[in-house]
């Protein structure tokens, strides 16, 4: 995986509803490489590569979401602090005491009460989602209004840390790594000329509004417009793979390869796509893992697979520790494994006969 690109994508401040900076970066990278590139009405970025010989056998949609968790400025207090509303399922103990940035460039610290001033109950529970304040260093409303406005958005401060063992950490890495992998795939298809020999028309959809979804995802609009024959959803697969967590709640194992799920709590993945993906990994020695249960956390696939008359869908998960915090951790080997598997959608097999994935 192109970690230099990942770092740039991770640094973009783009929570749900404000994905444009990431979209612009993606556009710069891939516009010269695709047959066409466009935005739909919600802001989903759609890039197409068609087979150059013959009629496409089918239409395959690949998705990765552009947005990350973050917050909106809800109000500016008389004392110069900012109250925020959260975008996405963030645990407040990953926010309190941490630096955040606003789209205007302002930097602040999420206020936390000193522990000696907390009541017994406050000590034992994480801060209330609706009660978070950001400290900018101003003591009056007017000073703050100069640098921040109502409705401004913000995220964790951009960071990128290299740990040992191929692990990297930073905000938004789980989702942005999936974006990077699709861009890598587009680049490889062009560089190796796979579009001369591949069978299917590929729609790369970089989606919006994933992190705030309750019933509908931004991806639904793209799926409805495209009505692909198949869909592959890429996203972070949450990990809590450490001591003290019981087996069934550990999620994906970082370093354990692509997470390929037969089902999660909202989607039963297409059984033949699931079997094909597992078989392809076995054949080519690509590391993969199953989730610990078949009722794990839902993905964008939950609505995509029920769009229109139904779209057979597969989910490929990138194990991500500390998901939805300012320091998500992924392993480069897992990302590379997903990259390898995706190429089997376009590469012919060793005997030159057919593709490994989805015959």
């Amino acid at each position: 995986m192109n970690t230099e690109l990942l770092q740039r994508l991770g640094a973009a401040v783009a929570p749900s509803g404000a994905e444009h900076d990431v979209a612009a970066l993606i556009g710069e990278e891939i516009a010269p490489l695709c047959d066409s590139i466009s935005y739909d009405k919600l802001g989903n970025l759609i890039a197409v590569i068609s087979p150059k010989r013959g009629e496409p056998r089918s239409r395959i949609m690949l998705t990765a979401h552009m947005d990350e968790v973050g917050f909106l400025v809800k109000s500016i207090e008389n004392d110069g602090r900012v109250r925020i509303s959260l975008l996405g399922d963030i645990s407040t103990d990953t926010l309190t005491g941490r630096r955040v940035v606003f789209d205007s460039g302002a930097v602040g610290v999420v206020v936390t009460k000193p522990i000696h001033l907390m009541s017994g109950r406050e000590r034992e529970t994480t801060a209330d989602r609706d009660g978070l304040y950001i400290e900018l260093g101003n003591t009056s409303r007017e000073e703050t209004e100069d640098i921040v406005s109502l409705g401004d958005y913000g995220t964790f401060e951009p960071k990128f840390t290299r740990l040992r063992g191929g692990y990297v950490a930073g905000k938004a890495l789980g989702g942005r790594a999936c974006v990077t992998l699709l861009i890598d795939m587009i680049r490889t298809i062009r560089e190796k000329g796979y579009d001369e020999t591949m069978s299917d028309e590929l729609y790369f959809v970089f989606t919006v509004k994933r992190e705030i979804a309750r019933t509908y995802y931004g991806a639904d609009a793209a799926a409805f417009a495209l009505m692909p024959d198949r869909a592959i959803v890429l996203d972070a697969a949450p990990s809590a793979d450490f001591q003290g967590v019981p087996r069934e709640r550990r999620g994906a194992h970082a370093g354990g390869g692509i997470q390929i799920a037969p089902a999660d709590m909202k989607t039963i993945y297409d059984r033949s796509m699931f079997a094909d993906a597992v078989e392809c990994c076995e054949k080519y020695g690509i590391p993969y893992q199953y989730p610990p249960t078949a009722d794990g956390p839902a993905t964008e696939a939950q609505t995509i697979h029920k769009i229109g008359a139904g779209i057979p869908t597969l989910f490929l998960g990138l194990a991500t520790r500390n998901l939805r915090s300012g320091a998500e951790i992924i392993n480069e080997r897992d990302a590379d494994a997903i990259g390898d598997l995706l190429l089997h959608l376009v590469k012919k097999e060793r005997n030159g006969y057919q593709q490994c994935l989805f015959n």
Binding site: D229, P246, R247, E248, P262, A263, K266, I268, R271, F274, A275, Y290, P291, P292, T293, A294, D295, H305, K306, I307, G308, A309, G310, I311, P312
Partner: protein, 332 residues
């Protein structure tokens, strides 16, 4: 009908893995319709074209999937861990025989120190008698589904018990209607939906593809005639229940009135059902595309989602008559 029902029940089809039961139903219904096909999700659609001018589209739906389990982990000693597919009650499934599509049998049991009120996926497992992990992996893999062993047995007074009555009884009723209707005035789609038990998923996509004008779901309902139950105005043996409401739908008045009329015309006894908890394919069909006139028939059922679901076959025959009469009625 007992024999036919049993045939449908013996075929396996846990949510998401319905191909076997789909094949059985497809073979049975094919002689009575014009076209039989499956869609991308696996919904089975049997279409009988209507006669006359501009026939309306009538969609009859019964879900062919059943609740069951999916294997998600095989431990070192060859025990299997499973996730629920649909509304399994572990108290009803504990210490029971389960069976895989391959015919492999196992027993679903809770870990020994867990109190009965705490049974859940994390503390039950399936024992197939394997010697170790490798031995188990020769017979099952992650993603395989299994279900409590099927059965159908007669009780007194035309009552029967077994599983999965939910919703093979609905599938049976659709089949019997296709077989017994004297004519088909409308383009009638007999749809055997998938993945109802995990969130009414197959009905959504099949209804979108068909865009019906009228839709009727057939599923099991509840009953209010057992000791200690909450008051509920439906009883076994008092006729098929016309659904007024469940948690996902308020039935369309036009459809309710039509069903009442057909029941009265055919001297079929009926009752009315209001289900406060629980949804069916009905609501999802009603909202498909531009919407349609939707309603449902419910078979009064005791002990739903257990190994001993119990119904009265007299209620069923009445329901079949109403469905057939619906097929015979030119819808406006």
């Amino acid at each position: 009908m007992f024999v036919q029902l049993k045939k449908f029940m013996m075929a396996d089809g846990v949510s998401g893995d319905e191909k076997n039961v789909s094949a059985v139903i497809a073979a049975e219904i094919a002689p009575y319709v014009d076209e039989v096909y499956s869609d991308a999700m696996g919904n089975l659609i049997a279409l009988k074209k209507g006669r006359g001018e501009n026939p309306k589209k009538l969609m009859l739906a019964a879900h062919m999937d059943e609740i069951g389990f999916m294997v998600n982990y095989i431990d070192d000693r060859g025990y299997l861990r499973v996730s629920k597919m649909g509304g399994i009650m572990f108290n009803a499934a504990a210490y029971a025989e389960v069976v895989f599509a391959s015919g492999l049998k196992g027993v679903l049991v809770p870990e020994p120190t867990v109190p009965a009120s705490d049974y859940k996926s994390a503390n039950v497992y399936v024992d197939i008698g394997a010697k170790n992990k490798k031995d188990a992996e020769r017979r099952v893999k992650i993603g395989d589904t299994c279900r409590l062993s099927p059965s159908l047995t007669k009780l007194l007074n035309g009552r029967v018990y077994g599983r999965p009555i939910d919703d093979r009884i609905g599938c049976l009723m659709l089949f019997e209607a296709a077989k017994s209707a004297k004519r088909f005035e409308n383009d009638t789609y007999f749809v055997f939906t998938v993945q109802e038990e995990v969130g009414v998923r197959g009905a959504k996509t099949s209804a979108f593809a068909i865009m019906p004008d009228y839709a009727v779901a057939v599923d099991i309902g509840g009953s209010g005639d057992i000791p200690g139950c909450k008051p509920f105005a439906v009883n076994l043996g008092e006729g098929i229940a016309i659904k007024l409401k469940d948690s996902m739908v308020i039935s369309h008045k036009t459809m309710v009135d039509l069903m009442k009329k057909l029941a009265d015309d055919n001297k079929v006894p009926y009752q009315f059902e209001i289900l406060e908890k629980g949804g069916t394919d009905t609501g999802v069909m009603q909202q498909a595309g531009g919407g349609c006139i939707a309603g449902a028939l419910s078979v009064p059922t005791r002990y739903g989602h257990t190994g001993v679901e119990t119904i009265d076959m007299n209620d069923v025959t009445g329901g079949v008559r109403i469905l057939a009469a619906l097929c015979e009625t030119k819808l406006a």
